[in-house]
């Protein structure tokens, strides 16, 4: 007959064993760690934006919203275009009304709550458009901070969100230095650009690349030396956004000016 003390002892051991999450052990699974960190496959998707070619028409934003079912009128978007107007005395004005879904229909700069700012065309030194999208970072801060592993990086470098597992804490949204993440207005989970993963994995281009009439957006595979995008990235003067965060962004820009935030 088991006495009370023994019973308590054994019960504690059993309870402790049950409580110990088995997932603790999974951390040490090297296969999964490798998949999470550096996929060594034949594909690593990268993006190339040519700022000199962008005219700010916003077709890319429109196409993205429709393709990826982000509600058309919601004030969030997976990709957007920013307009930069730099005056001769060095002041920079930036706007992106509705993410430039409808392009830029006025010369006035949208200053949000501060109203529309009119700039004398005589004083403008330079002006240009900068398309933005997820940088599919090599070292993604958003994947690091997700408490449940609902956001993860695929072997070919794309950061995805599992809508059935995201708890909606917003830590990834706060962790992204580029502001590409938001909460999906319908699914109420974290949402982001995924280079149209459903399209590129079937050999198609992303919706924004197909929609761009000027060839300002291109997608490519950096592991393929024959890919025209790879050739440009390796042979021309390209730049990336916010390198100082150590996220190793994989969206490359041609003609990136220092004013770009």
């Amino acid at each position: 007959m088991i006495n009370r003390r023994e019973f308590c002892k054994k019960a504690m051991i059993v309870a402790g064993g049950v409580v110990l999450p088995l997932t603790l052990l999974e951390v040490f699974n090297p296969k999964r760690l490798r998949a999470e960190r550096d996929g060594q496959g034949k594909i690593r998707w990268v993006f190339l934006v040519d700022i000199n070619k962008c005219v700010g028409c916003g077709f890319c934003v429109k196409a993205c919203k429709i393709e990826n079912e982000v509600p058309y009128d919601a004030n969030v978007t997976r990709t957007w275009v920013e307009r930069y107007v730099v005056t001769e005395d060095g002041q920079t004005f930036i706007d992106s009304p509705k993410g430039a879904r409808d392009g830029f229909t006025t010369q006035k700069i949208d200053q949000a709550h501060q109203g529309m700012k009119e700039i004398n065309p005589e004083e403008i030194g330079k002006a240009f458009f900068v398309p933005k999208l997820c940088n599919q970072c090599e070292n993604p801060a958003c994947v690091q901070v997700c408490p449940v592993g609902a956001t993860y990086q695929t072997q070919d470098g794309i950061v995805l969100v599992d809508r059935s597992w995201c708890i909606g804490c917003g830590y990834c949204v706060m962790g992204c230095p580029y502001g590409v993440r938001f909460f999906h207005p319908v699914y109420h989970v974290a949402e982001k650009c995924n280079f149209c993963y459903h399209r590129i994995s079937k050999g198609m281009k992303t919706a924004c690349v197909d929609a761009c009439p000027f060839g300002a957006r291109r997608i490519g595979n950096i592991r393929d030396p024959e890919d025209p995008v790879t050739k440009i990235i390796t042979s021309e003067q390209v730049n990336v956004l916010k390198e100082e965060f150590g996220t190793k962004p994989q969206v490359f820009y041609l003609g990136l000016s220092r004013e770009v935030k």
């Binding site: 999450p21 969030v76 690091q144 995201c166 502001g179 938001f182 909460f183």
Partner: protein, 417 residues
């Protein structure tokens, strides 16, 4: 409506997807965990370091930290977009995330608090059981009480001096382990913010330490305030009861004991306050001096946009004024109450200025965002992330404290701890 749009006001250039995603509930979260950790540290001062003058408030603080415990989780649940999936944090923790540790740290801490309370109250529980058992006739309430207390006793009915001594030792050990765990519970809340490299205001290694110090400050202040209010209520009740029973302690006796406890506790409050302010100012001066890329926008947030919140409410009314109140000789109960309430407000404003202030500027450093707290809860979301959601979080621990003290009374318990 996009999440965050209802309460975010944008100015100049802000990225299209940027909103104030972490609102009032994320202010409440570090504030409430801070109170838990602080209350526990206060009770440990007596149990571990044997600060005898704190005996009266130690038991009080311990029970209060139990009442606050579930409330540390409440704001997080109210904040989640998918609260029904909150448990995933414990089921499939992704350990590279600071939040993933929450389940483990929180559970460890909860077990320590619960077991410490059990050891502190074991004698009382057993005595109650024996008393109820000895009664010849028990009414329904007494029978229910007997069942409850028998369950709480968990069969450990030994009241011999050796057994009680063992209890005392266990309490001491639990309190000693509890201090680092409580600090970890809260320091790691600071880490959640301090490690966000995308946020220029949050990213500093000082954040966890600042959080711990201000946590202890707020915990002690809350204990002082609640202690005073409870004692005042007791005095009222006693003076009413004394009409029939003159042997009860007079309100003057109660009052002198109260002043001694409050004065003693406020010394520890000041100590931790000096530490917290030093670190906060160090952080501010350092940012000012090094003036890295983000400083331009931070300066306009700190010195212009949030000036009233930071320098008037947090440092002025929340730190400086209570400092003077507590340091002036001849501390009275009323002054202590005002002082500790101001300290609580100051710590709350500190959390506010970190959480909301950290989102007051765009990651593009070219624009600002302002948080307009939703007042009237016209939808579930506006309730959760608005004034009434926050009030729910504030009121809950007091309701729980009342309920817990129905079973485990804080005052008038005879024991050796």
């Amino acid at each position: 409506m996009v999440h965050g749009e209802a309460w975010t006001l944008k100015e100049f250039f802000v990225y299209p997807n940027e909103y104030i995603y972490w609102s009032i509930q994320i202010v409440m979260y570090p504030f409430m965990t801070g109170l838990v950790a602080g209350a526990f540290v206060l009770s440990s001062l007596y149990h571990v370091f044997g600060v005898k003058q704190l005996k009266e408030i130690a038991r009080f603080a311990l029970v209060f930290s139990l009442a606050l415990l579930p409330v540390a989780m409440l704001p997080l649940l109210l904040h989640l977009q998918q609260p029904q999936r909150g448990i995933y944090v414990m089921m499939t923790p992704h350990f590279t995330s600071a939040i993933a540790a929450f389940g483990i740290v929180f559970t460890t801490y909860a077990m320590i608090v619960l077991s410490e309370i059990w050891f502190v109250y074991r004698q009382f529980i057993v005595q109650t059981v024996l008393e109820l058992r000895s009664k010849q006739r028990r009414n329904k309430i007494e029978s229910a009480q007997l069942a409850l207390y028998s369950m709480l006793a968990m069969g450990a009915m030994d009241l011999s001096p050796e057994a009680l001594q063992k209890d005392e030792r266990a309490v001491k050990i639990m309190a000693a382990i509890g201090i680092p765990v409580a600090c970890f519970l809260h320091g790691y809340a600071g880490f959640i913010f301090g490690s966000v490299k995308a946020n220029a205001l949050w990213m500093t290694p000082l954040m966890p330490v600042i959080f711990i110090c201000s946590a202890v400050v707020s915990g002690i202040a809350l204990c002082i305030a609640t202690y005073i209010v409870t004692m005042e209520l007791r005095k009222l009740i006693y003076s009413w009861k004394r009409k029939n029973n003159p042997r009860l302690p007079s309100s003057d006796e109660l009052k002198s004991a109260e002043v001694v406890t409050v004065t003693m506790t406020s010394k520890y409050l000041l100590m931790f306050m000096v530490l917290a302010i030093t670190l906060e100012l160090l952080d501010l001066i350092f940012r000012n001096y090094t003036a890295v890329k983000s400083w331009d926008i931070l300066r306009s947030v700190i010195y212009e946009k949030d000036f009233v919140n930071i320098f008037v409410l947090q440092y002025g009314l929340g730190n400086l004024l209570p400092f003077i109140i507590f340091l002036l000789p001849g501390l009275t109960i009323r002054r202590a109450l005002v002082g500790s309430l101001l300290v609580l407000m100051g710590v709350f404003m500190m959390r506010w200025n970190v959480v909301i202030g950290g989102q007051a500027f765009s990651a593009s450093f070219s624009g600002f965002m302002e948080y307009k707290m939703p007042i009237w809860p016209s939808s579930v979301e506006l309730f959760k992330e608005g004034l009434f959601g926050a009030l729910t979080v504030i009121v809950t621990p007091f309701v729980l404290f009342y309920l817990v003290t129905r079973v485990l009374p804080v005052f008038g318990v005879k024991d050796s701890h």
